[in-house]
Symmetry: D2
Subunit: 100 residues, 4 copies
């Protein structure tokens, strides 16, 4: 029985970062979801990706202290539809690496 | 000769906040500039407006410690065109209150 | 009957800033509480004072969007004693301006 | 000849985090430097350690976007003496893992 944390099984910080890179590119390039990252600056997008990495690492049991907003506060008012979530969910699973 | 700071002449914190409220509504409703605030969450927009208020107050000589990014870093990569700046500049002047 | 908000009755942003300036100087100079601000950098203290101003303005009904931590999170682990709170409470009331 | 980045040679994110954990405990327990972390809250210290990790990873060539203050701004006014730096420097080298 594995005693590894999900953080370790996803390849640790670098594995989760590679996942986040892949996921962000996939979502930004998606015709239905790309609108959420259009017309924004480089620094804002880089900060958001770093927060995503920190959130994922922290949630998966990694040694990261997440100081960003909670998910509800950060998404309120974005008018994310049910079908947006469905598309996101598929992209998330496609980008997710095989757990070790 | 006036010895008042620009901060005071613009009506202090509340005057500059009213200005920022008016300016943000004007820009968000503009057909050419509105894209910069579309598809974003309520909290992100509220934070951005607060940073605008803090930046304006601080720049005008008010008692505010601005801790946000500098203007170059925050706008890099947004692909703001010359005509975008021209439209912004007009909106800025229209929203600006008469200095006291 | 007054319909003014507490924010207005405390003199608005500038009144609350003057209050925070006075309070911080009083607490930093206090022989029992001064330890909380010793050995810290200028920028860290300036940021903390700005967060205090933002928190007070927001709590008093002013047009400020407070994005700092909640009071419980920011004070946990500081080992603030009952007598520390009593000293703080007196300083707070002494610095507080007469409400208009 | 090694083509590994310093980030990799220090053991990546987890190696640098273990280093930062060790260093922070060493400095906080030091009779001359411990004053810089006394009388502060848990959240503030956890945030500072995370910023240290992010800064080290980013400086060493790792995939981390550091959004904290620069070193000069964050240390100004702390009255760090020459001998403080000497003690820090020794602790830094003692905590630093052997590069791979």
């Amino acid at each position: 029985m594995s005693r590894k944390s999900l953080y370790e099984r996803l390849g640790g910080y670098d594995g989760i970062t590679a996942f986040a890179d892949d996921l962000m590119l996939r979502l930004q390039g998606d015709s239905r979801l790309g609108r959420f990252w259009q017309n924004r600056g480089d620094d804002g997008i880089a900060r958001e990706k770093q927060l995503l990495i920190d959130y994922l690492c922290s949630s998966a049991g990694g040694p990261v202290y997440y100081t960003g907003r909670d998910m509800q506060a950060s998404h309120k008012g974005m008018h994310i539809s049910e079908s947006d979530w469905a598309v996101f969910s598929i992209g998330f699973r496609v980008s997710l690496p095989a757990r070790q």
